[in-house]
């Protein structure tokens, strides 16, 4: 069976648009609410990235940090995250889910046990922010055996030589970080420049899917439409924070935002 992540890319391609990927933090601001957010945005999002909150994140900007600290404060544990994924999959079996987090959480859980749990709960892919290539070779192989995509990250600082090696080892989806930034930074490079770098990566192996993330908002998403997929994270986390602050319902507000994002790439 084809990994639902690949199916999502095929579907989006048929509709002549990039896949829309969302990032929300598991347990933000509660287990139940984060599950409800996933359910409601899944109407418009093609792939759901679910953040595994960590309290010492070295690559996240303030928006995602706020979400992560909020989730941890409310008591989220790794097992709760698997439960959220499992409950979501009961509701929407074929919607792909990617867990995104830091390696220590996997290391403490045990790589094999973690991957088994991924299979049992229905996780389709993993992004591990601080497990770069070649350090991730072994783990990526283990993922492959479990039919889970290990998603390589690529950055503007990645040299061409290194890009080629990473793409050679990569699974069908990779993630291109648009600019030098933590998550949630202001887009400091023009969309044109980003697409130019993206095309350079695509040329290495056009069959492999590459999504672009970091700094994408309502305002910029339309200009990056030619990519295979686009990830929006901080803008969503920010909307959750804003809703909570104004005592509004994050579920409806985030849904509206994702719907709007989708309309910009149609």
């Amino acid at each position: 069976m084809l990994n639902p992540i690949s199916v999502a890319f095929i579907k989006a391609k048929q509709e002549n648009r990039p896949a829309l990927l969302t990032y929300t933090v598991a347990g933000d601001s509660s287990k139940k609410q984060s599950l409800n957010i996933l359910k409601s945005i899944s109407k418009n999002a093609d792939i759901l990235e679910v953040g595994v909150p960590h309290n010492t994140p070295v690559a996240d900007g303030s928006q995602i940090q706020t979400s992560a600290y909020r989730a941890i404060k409310n008591g989220i544990k790794v097992n709760d995250i698997f439960k959220i994924v499992k409950d979501f999959k009961k509701f929407h079996k074929n919607k792909p889910i990617i867990l995104m987090g830091y390696y220590n959480m996997i290391f403490q859980y045990g790589e094999n046990k973690f991957l088994n749990k991924c299979n049992l709960s229905g996780v389709n892919g993993l992004i591990v922010v601080d497990l770069p290539w070649p350090e991730n070779k072994n783990f990526a192989k283990k993922c492959k055996k479990k039919s889970i995509y290990f998603i390589q990250l690529l950055s503007p600082t990645t040299t061409t030589k290194r890009l080629k090696k990473i793409i050679k080892d990569s699974h069908p989806m990779s993630y291109f970080i648009s600019m030098l930034s933590t998550t949630g930074g202001k887009l400091k490079v023009s969309p044109k420049e980003i697409i130019k770098n993206y095309n350079k990566i695509k040329k290495i192996n056009p069959k492999k899917k590459v999504v672009i993330g970091f700094g994408i908002t309502e305002k910029t998403i339309g200009k990056l439409k030619s990519a295979d997929g686009l990830v929006v994270g901080s803008a969503i986390c920010k909307e959750i924070s804003r809703s909570l602050k104004h005592r509004q319902n994050p579920v409806t507000n985030v849904s509206k935002l994702v719907k709007k994002l989708k309309s910009k790439i149609l």
Binding site: N55, T157, T158, T159, I177, T182
Partner: protein, 414 residues
């Protein structure tokens, strides 16, 4: 796991930067792979370059003022009535602590790589103060990340940083201490690594930072070796080197040159921060058997919960208040070359009282932890045992805390 002889410990890591096959490494975001590799290439080249070594030594001598004193604490020795207690007064160094060696080397490297800005983390404020000093000296712009709690408790050093023209960025996340400052500093580097050099203030972080820092602070033991031979004619038969351990840079530098000696001749004792006697929280991952985890890009023993969240620490000393520990020390612990123990806040304060009562020496709260253990153990040791404590920082920065905990008479006005 084995420690090799004849090879510097900083160079005993494997290809991926792991000591003993499992400590250290480079658990970093992809964006940092290139700048880290560039720094590795530069450092590996320069540390073999005679001209660079000469340049380093010139700054160490003329600007830092090496060698720092090696003195006998006669009164304290008499009072304790056991081993001879000596001190390597590293706080003599320009700025008042060992952090100046690493800061100077990082600025030299930054200059060579053409960077105009240098950033760093700090806990006690010494790493930040020294980096701001060195940056000023070498004409670099400087930005220091510091936890808000530490900014409040280490004001003298904050003032010094600002006076040197550095921007001090308060960090409000997490426990608002060193661990959060390092995270924020790394995050800033992720976003600015094309124009900015990063200095990590201890032997922690991705492997190359561990190596650069250990290489820099090794100046301490290079000097001490000469001083021991001057004083005793040879390396004493019973030598014990006590040092506080936060990230582990002063202790590693204090021990490095003696690594190949048998530990029965030359024993290393690392003293971690046990925290308040009444609190369960501590900053002593080696003493209390914390599990291996990943923190700030390196695998190490680290205080964490079963899920892998890093745990909050507690210590009276901002410089030791860190949940992790250098991969070098994890390696020295597991190869049994060094022994690690902890002193509580109260024990450190008592040691401070005792040292300042008997000697003209004012160790900051960090080395006071080492003094606590050294004094306690010296009582039971023979008179021909040479105990040396690295007094790696001056207490001026701690005057607020000392006054509050011990009263005004323990604080001098300078």
């Amino acid at each position: 796991m084995k420690l090799k002889k004849g090879i510097p410990v900083i160079d005993q890591g494997n290809k991926l930067g792991f000591w003993g096959g499992k400590f250290g490494g480079n658990f970093v975001p992809e964006t940092l792979k290139k700048p880290i590799e560039d720094l590795e290439v530069l450092f590996n080249k320069l540390k073999k370059d005679k001209k660079f070594i000469q340049e380093r030594d010139r700054y160490f001598k003329n600007w830092i003022g090496v060698p720092t004193r090696f003195i006998k604490l006669e009164n304290l020795t008499r009072h304790v009535g056991g081993a001879q207690i000596w001190s390597k007064v590293v706080s003599d160094a320009n700025g008042g602590a060992h952090k100046v060696y690493n800061a100077t080397v990082h600025c030299l490297l930054a200059k060579r790589s053409g960077k105009k800005v240098i950033i760093g983390d700090t806990g006690a404020g010494y790493a930040g103060k020294m980096l701001s000093m060195a940056a000023k000296k070498f004409g670099l712009k400087c930005k220091i990340f510091m936890g808000a709690k530490d900014i409040a408790r280490q004001q003298p050093n904050v003032k010094a940083m600002k006076k040197n023209g550095a921007e001090v960025v308060p960090v409000y996340s997490g426990s608002q201490t060193l661990v959060d400052a390092v995270s924020e500093c790394m995050r800033f580097w992720v976003a600015n690594c094309d124009t900015t050099a990063m200095c990590i203030g201890s032997t922690v972080g991705p492997a190359v930072f561990v190596r650069i820092c250990g290489w820099s602070t090794s100046q301490i033991s290079r000097e001490l070796k000469v001083q021991l031979i001057d004083e005793f004619g040879s390396i004493p038969k019973k030598l014990k080197l006590y040092n506080c351990v936060g990230g582990g840079s002063s202790s590693f530098g204090f021990w490095n040159e003696f690594m190949d000696y048998d530990k029965r001749q030359c024993e290393f004792i690392g003293v971690e921060a046990g925290g308040p006697a009444k609190s369960k929280k501590h900053a002593a991952p080696l003493t209390y058997g914390s599990k291996i985890g990943i923190l700030h890009g390196a695998a190490q023993y680290v205080n964490q919960n079963s899920d892998g969240q890093i745990e909050e620490t507690e210590s009276i000393s901002a410089g030791l208040d860190y949940p992790g520990i250098s991969p070098l020390h994890c390696f020295l612990k597991d190869t049994k070359r060094a022994r690690y123990t902890a002193a509580s806040d109260e024990q450190a304060l008592n040691a401070y009282k005792l040292v300042t009562k008997f000697e003209k020496l004012r160790p900051s709260l960090e080395p006071s932890h080492a003094f606590a253990v050294a004094i306690a153990e010296s009582k039971k040791l023979s008179k021909d045992t040479i105990v040396i404590v690295n007094s790696c920082g001056d207490a001026y920065k701690d005057r607020g805390i000392l006054e509050k905990r011990l009263g005004k008479k323990y604080v001098k006005s300078n």
